[in-house]
């Protein structure tokens, strides 16, 4: 009882536990999960990442001017939606060339605001895919 | 996992004979859609302090039959009965609909689902 009183009293003079964000930056470990990054030249277009992704945040869609890559026989282009991604790394594990063609960074996505209509373009891609 | 088949008429008597409340732990009631008209109703139990010993009482029935309630034998079954009523759009004695779904929700979401 006495102890809890003294602890409560001591707490008055302690520094706050919270961080003064955004003035102070949040500590970020190199292993934290963030955006998936992709290298067009290294990709072999096996589409394993597209199949593995649980929410379907990676799409390969045929375009008119496909990236120049001899493995890209069907003229596909990689699309990634950071707002659908759940950062589970399932795509990187499925990739035959992890860390070269596809890897996970610890970067945050930009904040998606409703007025920016961030998913409109994505819905068009999904419609083409179907 | 042991499965025991029963019928809609006998299920209450079977569970009453089987269920000793200090030996068996009632886990939940469950429904599994079989085809457009029939589904399997399950009552799942496990034994206290035993290594993975569970028993499932089940019966296959049509959606329009009234399923007897076991609320008087196992008082805690009321909540899972209400869930089955909502999810499959069936009737169970004394269990009212509307635990999860409202009038404007998708009705009987699990009927014929996963086939």
């Amino acid at each position: 009882m006495k102890e809890s009183f003294s602890k409560a009293f001591q707490n008055l003079f302690k520094k706050p536990q919270t961080i003064d964000y955004p003035v102070t930056e949040i500590k970020k470990d190199k292993d934290y999960r963030g955006l998936i990054e992709y290298c067009e030249e290294e990709c072999i277009y096996c589409l394993k990442c597209e199949k593995a992704c649980p929410p379907g945040a990676i799409l390969f869609v045929g375009v008119e001017n496909p990236p120049k890559n001899e493995k890209n026989k069907k003229g596909l282009k990689y699309h990634y939606n950071p707002y659908l991604c759940i950062y589970c790394q399932e795509c990187v594990r499925a990739c035959p060339k992890p860390n070269e063609a596809l890897w996970q960074s610890n970067k945050k996505p930009t904040i998606g605001v409703a007025s920016d209509r961030v998913n409109d373009e994505w819905f068009e891609l999904e419609a083409i895919k179907k | 996992m042991k499965k025991v088949e029963s019928t809609l008429e006998n299920i209450r008597d079977d569970i009453k004979k089987f269920y000793d409340y200090k030996v068996w732990h009632f886990i939940t009631m469950n429904g599994v859609a079989l085809d457009g008209e029939r589904f399997e109703v399950q009552w799942i139990f496990s034994r206290y302090e035993a290594m993975d010993e569970s028993v499932i009482y089940y019966t296959v029935t049509e959606y329009d039959k009234i399923i007897p309630s076991i609320e008087d034998i196992i008082p805690s079954s009321i909540i899972s009965q209400r869930e089955v009523v909502d999810m499959f759009g069936v009737k169970i004695d004394g269990s009212e609909a509307g635990l999860y779904l409202d009038a404007d929700s998708l009705q009987m979401p699990l009927r014929g689902c996963g086939l």
Binding site: D31, P54 | Y21, I27, Y100, G114
Partner: protein
């Protein structure tokens, strides 16, 4: 003629973070009737699991059922798929799974304890426990990379290995938490004002615990020996020093003590895991499509979690039934409220540690 009044608690209430509604029928201050409504956040996860996602993605879907015990959901689901496909996962993966599951239990119990003390009017302890809980959250984020949705367990093993540097940090944090928890045990048992709010309030007798099929800390506080970690063989809990914690009072105080003792036991288990972490792979390749039906149970922080999964040899599953702990405890909750004072209701409710996003899945 006696007159009764109806007082609602929820669905939005100052002392509740969760959308649950209890309608109390009160005779002066005494509760004589309870009616509950839990379906405010129903999202149709069970339907989504069988219509929208293939079986290898469902583990990530069911993790979204709950924020606090996400990892127990993905654990129980993956265990049921592994049981169906008869896969043996590497021992190291099992140990890493248990490490994260126990860390999850520690932070979940700490959250519950802080809310119980807040609802009993002791905000200083609430702040302190929440501050210490952050240590556990940080090491979880360090190991898995995510703070809430770990996505750590996948079919066949775990997604990440733990480095020796991380092991050191985890051990340091656990040591700090251990010393803090010892302080809480003292305060929760000896503090006079807390015991006024906790002792002999919201009592569930052993016989009622049996009759209403109570689970988790709620049942163990009444002396009912039910802990699913004791009843499973897919995780080697006996190797790492698991001990079932029970109490006899059945009141709020007994529930707090059970939770505190479980935190101590979990910290011990985590330390044992880190000391005896086996070498080897963390993933095995899993082949085949799930066929047949299984029932797998696991002890989530709030009690028994059960998955009934039925597959037909196709990528899509036939049925995924999720029985969450809070859902199954609603009848015992209602029973405990009967006869209590209305003023105690928020503290009693917080001592159940209800998780409504689990319940309404």
């Amino acid at each position: 003629m006696k007159k009764t009044i109806h007082i609602p608690l929820g669905s939005q209430h100052i002392s509740l973070l969760e959308p649950v509604k209890f309608k109390f029928e009160c005779e002066n201050e005494k509760i004589i009737g309870v009616d509950s409504d839990v379906g405010f956040v129903h999202r149709g996860v069970e339907r989504a699991c069988t219509t929208k996602f293939k079986f290898d993605g469902v583990g990530y879907v069911v993790a979204r059922v709950c924020g606090l015990c996400a990892i127990t959901h993905s654990m129980t689901y993956t265990a049921s798929i592994e049981k169906m496909l008869q896969t043996q996962i590497p021992l190291k993966a099992k140990y890493l799974r248990m490490l994260l599951l126990e860390l999850d239990r520690i932070h979940s119990h700490m959250l519950c304890l802080s809310h119980v003390s807040e609802n009993a009017g002791f905000e200083a302890i609430f702040m302190r426990i929440m501050g210490d809980r952050e240590l556990i959250m940080e090491i979880q984020e360090l190991i898995t990379g995510n703070r809430v949705q770990f996505d750590f367990i996948s079919i066949g093993g775990v997604n990440r290995d733990i480095s020796s540097e991380h092991i050191k940090k985890v051990k340091e944090a656990l040591k700090v938490v251990r010393s803090k928890v010892d302080g809480y045990i003292d305060e929760f048992t000896n503090n006079w004002s807390l015991s006024l709010k906790y002792k002999n309030i919201g009592v569930l007798s052993l016989d009622d615990a049996y009759r209403f099929n109570a689970i988790g800390p709620l049942a163990r506080a009444s002396g009912l020996k039910i802990d699913v970690r004791n009843e499973i063989d897919y995780l080697p809990y006996s190797e790492i020093g698991f001990e079932m914690q029970t109490s006899t009072g059945g009141d709020i105080h007994a529930r707090n003590v059970v939770r505190l003792n479980e935190i101590v036991n979990s910290i011990q288990m985590c330390e044992n895991i880190l000391d005896a972490l086996p070498e080897g792979e963390i993933q095995t390749k899993v082949k085949g499509k799930p066929d047949g039906e299984v029932l797998v149970r696991y002890e989530a922080p709030r009690g028994e979690l059960a998955y009934y999964v039925k597959g037909g040899g196709k990528p899509m599953l036939d049925r995924v039934r999720i029985k969450t702990p809070t859902f199954a405890s609603i009848p015992s909750f209602s029973h405990i409220f009967m006869g209590s004072q209305y003023a105690d209701a928020p503290a009693i409710l917080a001592s159940f540690d209800p998780c409504l996003s689990c319940t309404a899945k």
